[in-house]
């Protein structure tokens, strides 16, 4: 690992802490230092008032969920790009997103009239569970289709992923056609993503999956570096490529599946964050995986802070912001790099 990238990990960690603290202070509801201190005291003493509730049950959970989902999506993206040795790869390529979308939409439409009488939290939980199952089962299908005699052909997997994605999108289209106005609106907002309903229960489910997943993906950093040379070459280097492959796909599916289940579809993070780091620091997965997790978390926390403040008292779906803020910035970086290269 280069010194530059070694140094940048503590810096990223520091920035993450700053963005969490900053996000706690910022919001439509103006809060002063004193008020937040008071809220903390109340929280520790088990007392509850409006500001304590606001900070600890509305603002903090959504900041943490944004961080977990952002970090999870980014590291999953980095790992998938490494596995496929393809810069355009992202988790949605192996069917996770389209499968989750299909199942979520079908649960919104098919059970809409039935579920309408239940509370919003129960409805949301149902959609979440469906999305999670959908993401995982579609990924399994893609993996199953491209595996033969214990070997998984990455090329086949990519193509199978594209075909399954198109198929799932078509069935999603049927459900969208069948949906009424209300359901259509739910579907639209779901596919734009939001962390606004974050709760401690959601965090309790998401945190273990994302954190353990991140740790496990990190253990494969060296293998991914070797796979960069080619699968055969990696095998000669003593890497158990098939085992690495199946583990990475499983962990990625779990991380992305739970993220989508909790927040809907938040695009762009998984693709752009790893690339951003690659452009600056080069491709070394020992750094890239950790760096992506940290930067992804920072990015989504900032995006969500913007989502809930810039058009307050209303709120912007976060999926819009990630692309709106991220894309121009990424293009700028791309042009900078190009200029630098041509100067050399």
């Amino acid at each position: 690992m280069s010194i530059k990238s070694l140094l940048s990990l503590p810096i990223l960690l520091f920035l993450l802490i700053i963005s969490i603290v900053g996000a706690i202070f910022l919001g439509a509801y103006q809060t002063s230092f004193a008020e937040i201190g008071q809220a903390m005291m109340n929280f520790l003493n088990g007392k509850n008032n409006a500001i304590t509730y606001l900070i600890f049950h509305i603002r903090l959970p959504r900041i943490l969920l944004a961080g977990l989902v952002g970090g999870g999506l980014a590291i999953a993206g980095a790992a998938i790009q490494g596995l496929f040795r393809n810069p355009l790869a992202e988790p949605s390529l192996i069917g996770i997103t389209s499968g989750a979308m299909l199942f979520a939409v079908s649960s919104i439409v098919l059970m809409g009239s039935f579920l309408a009488t239940f509370s919003a939290i129960f409805q949301q939980a149902t959609v979440s569970i469906f999305a999670f199952i959908g993401g995982l089962s579609t990924t399994y299908l893609v993996y199953f289709l491209s595996s033969k005699h214990g070997r998984t052909n990455v090329m086949t997997m990519l193509l199978a992923g594209i075909a399954i994605t198109a198929f799932a999108a078509a069935i999603t289209g049927i459900f969208i056609f069948l949906s009424d106005d209300q359901q259509l609106r739910d579907i639209t907002f779901w596919s734009l993503g939001s962390v606004s309903s974050a709760s401690w229960i959601q965090l309790g489910i998401t945190a273990p999956i994302v954190l353990i997943g991140t740790f496990l993906l990190n253990t494969h950093a060296k293998s991914l570096n070797a796979i960069l040379l080619g699968e055969k070459e990696a095998t000669y280097l003593g890497i158990k490529v098939e085992k690495v492959k199946s583990q990475i796909i499983l962990i990625t599916a779990l991380i992305v599946g739970v993220s989508i289940a909790m927040t809907g579809i938040i695009g762009f993070v998984g693709l752009i964050i790893p690339h951003f780091l690659r452009l600056i620091f080069g491709t070394d997965y020992r750094f890239l995986l950790k760096g992506s997790a940290l930067l992804g978390a920072i990015f989504l926390i900032i995006a969500d802070t913007l989502a809930r403040t810039i058009i307050a008292p209303a709120e912007l779906p976060i999926g819009i912001l990630t692309a709106l803020v991220g894309a121009p910035f990424f293009l700028w970086l791309l042009l900078q790099m190009q200029r630098k290269n041509s100067e050399l």
Partner: protein, 287 residues
């Protein structure tokens, strides 16, 4: 016997005290209100509570004073924090929409009172809503009576108009959001309710709710009148744009130039002005 009497007296007093409690609560200063429904906003303004509204949803566009009230967006995309920042005493929401978002649970836990109001598609909708609002707001009985009186007078006029005719035109309601996005109303919609109450019949009875418009179904339904929201007709660039849609020129409605466009909120909210709206529509249908 005396004991029983005094016990009875005590019970009555206690009972009265219980009844009085919410009113005592109301007599305090002006409450800060959030209304998450265009219909409820109009009712609140009609009852003189417009100035106490500190936030509305995106469907609240009448009266024009609502323009200066902070808009909280669509009801399924609320920002809990921003709502807390407005420090509302009450959030009024239509009962059918109370399960729309988890944000309500968050707000309830933060100590905000969320009051669901039952609504219907009848002329007494606004009066019913006003009576429910009275549980939380200090609304005077006379104001509700005035509202009821106005609607009643208009209903009587409407009955008179309809009693002089036997025509029952087939009305097709088209919901348009631009040329590529047209649906027609089946049964069970607010549009059907107002059509039936104003002496028309729904041109489509073969399905519930809204379905995308197809040229064949359009011609088959053979509507005498096409009814649209003004905003919907505007989204097609008016009648000139409507002709461009396949099947429209073949309908009796188009041939006889019977395209009616009315304000969407007025037409489907069954609010305090429902009587006027119904008379206007009934007259147009009978032309």
């Amino acid at each position: 016997m005396k004991k029983i009497k005094s016990l009875l007296f005590l019970t009555i007093i206690l009972f009265a005290a219980c009844q009085n409690e919410p009113i005592a609560d109301n007599s305090a200063e002006a409450k800060r209100i959030i209304s998450l429904s265009g219909f409820l906003t109009e009712v609140l303004f009609d009852l003189g509570y417009g100035e106490q509204i500190v936030g509305t949803d995106i469907t609240s566009a009448y009266p024009s004073e609502t323009d200066s009230i902070p808009k909280l967006g669509h009801i399924s995309q609320l920002n809990a924090e921003a709502i807390l920042a407005l420090k509302p005493d009450y959030i009024f929401v239509e009962k059918s929409q109370v399960n729309q978002t988890e944000v309500f649970a968050q707000l309830k836990n933060a100590g905000i009172k969320i009051i669901p109001i039952t609504t219907s598609r009848h002329f007494n909708n606004a009066v019913n809503a006003a009576n429910q609002l009275k549980n939380n707001l200090d609304i005077e009985e006379e104001q509700i009576e005035a509202m009821a009186k106005k609607i009643e007078t208009d209903s009587l006029k409407l009955i008179e108009i309809l009693s002089n005719t036997t025509k029952k035109p087939k009305v097709l309601f088209i919901y348009a959001r631009g040329a590529g996005n047209l649906s027609v109303s089946g049964t069970g919609t607010a549009a059907e309710a107002i059509i039936q109450k104003t002496g028309g019949q729904n041109a489509i009875t073969s399905f519930e709710n809204f379905k995308p418009l197809t040229p064949e179904a359009l011609i088959e339904s053979g509507p005498d009148v096409i009814l649209m929201f003004s905003s919907g007709l505007a989204s097609l660039d008016g009648k000139a744009g409507l002709v461009q849609i396949k099947g429209i020129p073949q309908t009796p409605a188009y041939k006889n130039n019977r395209i009616i466009a009315m304000d969407g909120h007025e037409l489907t909210s069954f609010g305090p002005r429902v009587g006027e709206t119904a008379i206007m529509l009934a007259k147009k249908l009978q032309e």
